[in-house]
Structures are given as structure tokens and as C-alpha cells.
């Protein structure tokens, strides 16, 4: 009877994979709680409201309590098939994260314009756009983004180190605008 009432109270609409996320988030909250003593300090001769540990304590206890309830409601809701497929979807995104980070590392070396053109073009190929038109659009898009942000808006992005090897006239231009 009690179990039935609990189920009625906590059961909710959810998607496949919810319980995996709920468990991971709850464990993460518990980990933070275990570190509360060592990662924050209680300062002497300071009132409670000015203690540096006050807000992390409130936040982490809030995370623990509510992620615990979230997990409980996941457990008490009917299981939805498709958990593995969903987690595979999450993991697939890591492939693009890796490409993104390679791009990030490449910019200070190759320069913003060449890296951006390459990034857009390679991703286009990776995603299966095989038509020359799609490839050209990617090249133009990469070039336009780099020119608009670095040359026109002068956004704070460093010049590529390879620009140093360019001929004199072109080098100064590339260092400033590309």
C-alpha cells in the first residue's frame, strides 16, 4: 500500500536513459558532498552568513536531496525501452567533441581562416555531404565566418604561427586580418 502511494506520488513522465542520468547525477552530488569539508574553509571570527562554505553547502545539499528524489521518481516510474540506444546517442556526440577540440588546438598554429575552412569542409565530408555544391558552401561558410569575426569585428583570436612563414607583404596582412 505504501509502495503504491509512493509510486503514485513520484511517478512521472520521462524518457529512456533517465535513470542512468539520475544515478550519475546523484553520485556526482554525493562525491561533492564528500569533498565539502576539504574543498571549502570555515574562517574564524566570521559570522555564518559570510562564511565561504555557506553557499557551496546549501548548493550541494540541495543537489543531493533533489537528485535523490529525482532518482527515486525514476525508480518508481515504469521502465521505458531504449536505454542502450539512448546512451549510444550520447556517446556518439563525443566524436564531434573530439573534432571540435582538434579545431581549437589547431587555430593558434594554422590560423583562424585556414582552420575554420578545413573544419567546416571536413565535417561536411564526415556527415556525408558528397556533392561539390555542399563542399563549396562549407568552404565559403568557413571563409566568411573567419573574415567577419577576425577581420571585420576584430574579435580577440590570435594569429596563426604559420603566418610567420608567409612572404613579407602577405604576412602583415594575415597576422592582422586572417
Amino acid at each position: 500500500m505504501i509502495a503504491k502511494t509512493l509510486q503514485d506520488m513520484f511517478r512521472r513522465y520521462r524518457r529512456p536513459g533517465d535513470i542512468v542520468f539520475a544515478t550519475l547525477f546523484f553520485l556526482f552530488s554525493l562525491f561533492l558532498l564528500s569533498q565539502l569539508g576539504s574543498e571549502t574553509q570555515v574562517v574564524k571570527r566570521t559570522k555564518w552568513f559570510a562564511q565561504p562554505a555557506l553557499w557551496p553547502t546549501i548548493a550541494i545539499w540541495g543537489m543531493v536531496v533533489f537528485s535523490g528524489l529525482h532518482l527515486l521518481s525514476s525508480f518508481l516510474s515504469p521502465r521505458i525501452p531504449g536505454r542502450l540506444r539512448e546512451i549510444t546517442f550520447w556517446l556518439k556526440s563525443l566524436e564531434y567533441v573530439v573534432y571540435f577540440l582538434i579545431y581549437v588546438v589547431a587555430v593558434p598554429w594554422l590560423g583562424y581562416l585556414p582552420s575554420t575552412i578545413l573544419f567546416a569542409a571536413l565535417l561536411t565530408v564526415r556527415l556525408g555531404f558528397r556533392l561539390p555544391g555542399a563542399f563549396c558552401i562549407a568552404l565559403v561558410f568557413g571563409a566568411v565566418v573567419a573574415i567577419v569575426f577576425r577581420a571585420l569585428l576584430q574579435v580577440n583570436i590570435p594569429a596563426g604561427r604559420v603566418y610567420e612563414y608567409l612572404p613579407d607583404g602577405l604576412r602583415a596582412f594575415a597576422l592582422t586580418y586572417l
Binding site: D8, M9, R11, R12, Y13, R15, G17, D18, S29, L32, E39, T40, Q41, V43, K47, F49, A50, P52, A53, W55, P56, I58, A59, I60, G62, M63, F66, S67, L69, H70, S73, S77, E86, F89, W90, S93, Y96, V97, F100, L101, Y103, V104, V107, P108, T116, A120, L123, T124, L127, F129, A134, A138, F141, V145, F149, L153, V155, N156, I157, P158
Partner: protein, 506 residues
């Protein structure tokens, strides 16, 4: 009057006008693209605007914010795909109208209702300005603390059926804000002896990760969604005339949009829900709702477009953002050392006036743009969604990297991108994290300065505004408890058919 003239002079600068046009037109296009919302565009452009004057940067972002919902109505009505999340309700009545050959009429009504809602909210903002200028200075530390607390409470409770997850994510946001070197006692909090954590977790990095990179990853990994083709003929401004016949619904819906826009933590969805319910309950033909009712369409579009103008009220008057987009805009103020809050009205009223006028102008620019461009926009939205993913990911890099040229920032943003993707896939809310970060920071600072001046806890609410806010907070909690008890009673009643998908959590 001097402020008005001075505000006009600020607005008349060519940089401001260019920002206004780019923001408004860009916002409509971005809104019309399913999968790219105003939040993604604002997150990407945010760091770029730091190089501009505050009025230029804010006008650009406001342009995107205010116009994206106009654009979002186009695919919602013609191809049953909302351009932005807040246009979802528009599909209920807009698409059935298209199916019975009234796409042109539906679009026309949606534009007109959006324009009405937008202008109505700005007029409310202008009318309320003298009141705000008078009331805002009475907001001291304790009142701002209580208002921020109310914002957190509302953003959690507004997520009906997801209260636990909204609460845990709001607390996570508060936690993120505490990471790093604490600025008063200079102690480290949750840095794990890592230098890259000493400076804390930057709000913009989190915003870009959760909104932009997550959306890019979602589009890249998901299968291609090709929007259907559509074409519309005729003068799309006949709806302005038809709107006159529905002015009661448009006015009430816009008023609800203004009210919900002003209250931190609520916003478009709540205002739409209330206005749609009102329109249906007072309609002579309630059965037509969801089957192509012009009243339902007007209620939905007028309410959501009234929110952006109203959302500027707590931001400008108190420095408290009510939702994610105004939280992002707050960082533009901070970067330029313009502190929104009571002092802004006292010292920079011309700046506030310029923002109001920019809001009015953007609605006019959008309306003119839509006059010529609806069919062009229908072609633009045919961009393959996976290619959109490439575009967003490429642009996200500029947003994160240009902040301080940090590879670590990019890695953190990518991490939040994956986290955001999981939240989106699970249909869990992202906004509580952002509001937790912003309002958590405000609460920490304000509690510290407020408590230093009170002797007993009761002194905290001994001023009229603080007492009113406190009573409102109690009222919100009591109302929520009452609704939970009511829901529980409804559940235990014997029901003929049990619906597995509509259970609510506590």
C-alpha cells in the same frame, strides 16, 4: 523630455541602427530555422558584443531576442514545425488553419498578434518607468536577495512535472557559481588544487556549452530532419484588420505576457498557457481550439511576444534576470561596468529610454522585413539540419575562444555541450542552471551585505517591500503545496481510464 531627446540621440548613432537592423532581421531568420533559437544565437554573439558600446551590443541582442518568435511562427504555421520552442503552441491552431487553406490568414494573424504583443509590452514598460524609477531605489540588499530567491523558487516551481530535476539543476547552477577563488575571504572553493579552476566557471562558457554546442551536437548526431516545403501568397497584413475583432484576447494575452515576463522564473510558456486557457474559456467556440482557432493563435503569439519587453523590467530596475536570455544580457552590462539596478534609472535614464525606443523600432523593422521576406525565409529553412550543426559548432568556437583565448574554456564548454545534449534528450530543463548561477551569485553578495545590517532575523523583513516579497514567497510555497494536495486527491479518486503518461511528480 531631456532624457527622451538624449535617448533618441543615442539611438540615432549609425552603429546602433546597424545593430538594430542586423539583430532584428537576423533574429527572424534564426527564429525561422527549426533547431536554432534566440538562445543559441545570443550565446554565440555575446562575446563579440563585448567589443561594442553597451547600447550597440544590447540592441543587437535585444533585436534577436525580440524578433526570433516572429520568425518561429512561420514554420510552426506552414509546416507544423515550431521555429523556436515557444512557438510550439502556435502549431496547435496555426497548422490546422494551413491545412484547410488558410495559411496566409494564419501567418497574417500571427504577425499582427506578435506585433501587438511586442508594442503593448513596451508601452507598459514606458508607462511603468516612472513607477520603477521611484520604487527601484527602495530595493536594498535584503529586497534584492528576496527577489532573487523568489526567482529561483519560481523557476523551479514553474517546471510542473519536473520540479525535482529543475531544483537539482538550479542548485547545480548555484554550486557552479561558487567554484573558484572566493572574493571576500580569498579562500578556494572546490578548485581541487587545479589552477584552471581558481578563476571559477565562466557563465558565458557554460551558456555557450549548454545552449549552442549542445544544439550543434544534437543536430550533428541526430538523423536529418528536412522541413517540408511551403509557399504563401497574398498580402500578409490583412491580419491587422482581423486582429481588431480579437482585440480583447490580444490585450488580455499581452497583459499576461507582460505580467509573466516581469516575474522572474516564469516567462513565455506560463504566459502562453494562461492566455490560451483564458481564450478557450471565454470563447464562443471553445471546441475549435487546437483545430485551427484564430483566437488560440492570437492568444499564443500575443502572449509570447509580450514577454521580451517585460523581461527587461526586473533586469533594468533590479539587475535581476528573469530567464536565460536576460541573464546573458546581464553580462553585457557587467563587462561595460554599467550596473543595472536602481542607480541606472537615476543616473542613466537616457540609456534606458534609448533601449525602449530600440525595442519599438525592432518590432517595426521586423514587420516591414516580413512583408517582403516570408517566402524567402521558407527557402532558407530548407538548410539541412546537420549542416546547421556544422555552422553552430563553428560559430560556437568564436564565442568561447574569443573570451580569453583559452583551450581549457573550450574544453569546459564542450563538456557542458555534452551535458546539455543529455538534458535536451531527456527533456530536462537547462534554464534553472543558468538562473542558479546568476541568481546564486546575487543572493550570496546580497545576503552578506544585508545580514551585516540586521540584528535579528525578523529585521530582515521589517521594510515594506521586503515584507511584501516575503509574503509573496510564502504565498507561492503555500499555493504550490495546495496544488500538490489537490493533484494527489485527484489521483486517488477512482478513474475509469489510467493514463500512464500524464502523472506528475511532487
Amino acid at each position: 523630455m531631456d532624457n527622451l531627446i538624449s535617448g533618441f540621440a543615442i539611438l540615432a548613432q549609425w552603429q546602433v541602427m546597424v545593430a538594430l537592423i542586423i539583430g532584428s532581421v537576423g533574429g527572424v531568420i534564426i527564429g525561422a530555422l527549426p533547431g536554432v533559437g534566440a538562445a543559441v544565437a545570443i550565446a554565440i554573439l555575446l562575446p563579440a558584443t563585448f567589443a561594442f558600446e553597451p547600447i550597440v551590443g544590447l540592441t543587437l541582442l535585444l533585436g534577436i531576442y525580440g524578433s526570433s518568435m516572429y520568425g518561429g511562427a512561420i514554420p510552426a504555421i506552414l509546416i507544423n514545425t515550431p521555429g523556436t520552442a515557444v512557438n510550439a503552441l502556435t502549431t496547435y491552431d496555426g497548422y490546422p488553419m494551413t491545412k484547410r487553406g488558410e495559411g496566409h490568414r494564419a501567418l497574417s494573424l500571427a504577425y499582427s498578434a506578435s506585433f501587438f504583443g511586442g508594442i503593448f509590452s513596451i508601452l507598459c514598460l514606458i508607462v511603468l518607468s516612472p513607477v520603477l524609477a521611484r520604487v527601484a531605489p527602495h530595493f536594498g540588499s535584503r529586497e534584492i536577495f528576496l527577489a532573487a530567491f523568489m526567482g529561483i523558487l519560481l523557476v523551479i516551481l514553474a517546471h510542473r512535472g519536473q520540479t525535482f530535476s529543475a531544483a537539482m539543476l538550479a542548485f547545480f547552477g548555484i554550486f557552479l557559481n561558487t567554484v573558484g577563488l572566493e572574493p571576500v575571504k580569498y579562500t578556494r572553493r572546490f578548485t581541487f588544487d587545479q589552477t584552471w579552476l581558481s578563476s571559477g566557471v565562466d557563465l558565458i562558457v557554460v551558456v555557450l556549452g549548454l545552449f549552442a554546442i549542445s544544439q550543434a551536437l544534437l543536430l550533428l548526431v541526430d538523423k536529418e530532419h528536412a522541413p517540408g516545403e511551403a509557399h504563401v501568397r497574398g498580402n500578409i497584413f490583412t491580419g491587422l484588420k482581423e486582429l481588431l475583432g480579437l482585440k480583447r484576447i490580444a490585450t488580455v494575452s499581452s497583459s499576461l505576457g507582460v505580467l509573466m515576463g516581469m516575474v522572474p522564473g516564469t516567462g513565455e510558456f506560463t504566459s502562453q498557457f494562461l492566455s490560451y486557457t483564458y481564450a478557450q474559456k471565454t470563447s464562443k467556440n471553445p471546441d475549435a481550439f487546437g483545430k485551427g482557432s484564430p483566437e488560440g493563435l492570437v492568444a499564443s503569439e500575443a502572449a509570447n511576444n509580450a514577454v521580451p519587453g517585460a523581461a527587461m523590467i526586473p533586469l533594468l530596475a533590479l539587475g535581476i534576470p528573469g530567464e536565460a536570455l536576460t541573464a546573458m544580457m546581464l553580462s553585457v552590462f557587467y563587462v561595460h561596468n554599467v550596473i543595472p539596478g536602481p542607480q541606472l534609472f537615476a543616473e542613466q535614464m537616457d540609456f534606458v529610454m534609448a533601449l525602449y525606443m530600440a525595442l519599438i523600432l525592432l518590432n517595426v523593422v521586423v514587420l516591414i522585413f516580413l512583408l517582403f521576406s516570408t517566402n524567402l525565409l521558407l527557402k532558407i529553412i530548407q538548410i539541412p539540419t546537420r549542416f546547421l550543426g556544422i555552422m553552430i559548432l563553428t560559430l560556437s568556437f568564436v564565442g568561447v575562444y574569443s573570451l580569453r583565448n583559452s583551450i581549457t574554456d573550450c574544453a569546459i564548454a564542450a563538456g557542458f555541450g555534452v551535458f546539455g545534449l543529455i538534458l535536451k534528450r531527456l527533456n530536462l530543463p537547462i534554464v534553472p542552471i543558468i538562473l542558479g548561477m546568476v541568481l546564486g551569485g546575487i543572493m550570496e553578495v546580497k545576503l552578506r551585505s544585508a545580514m551585516a545590517r540586521v540584528k535579528s532575523p525578523l529585521d530582515f523583513i521589517d521594510r515594506p517591500i521586503a515584507a511584501i516579497l516575503f509574503v509573496m514567497i510564502l504565498g507561492i510555497i503555500l499555493l504550490h503545496i495546495r496544488s500538490l494536495i489537490q493533484e494527489h486527491k485527484d489521483r486517488v479518486k477512482p478513474q475509469p481510464v489510467l493514463d500512464e503518461d500524464t502523472t506528475q511528480q511532487g
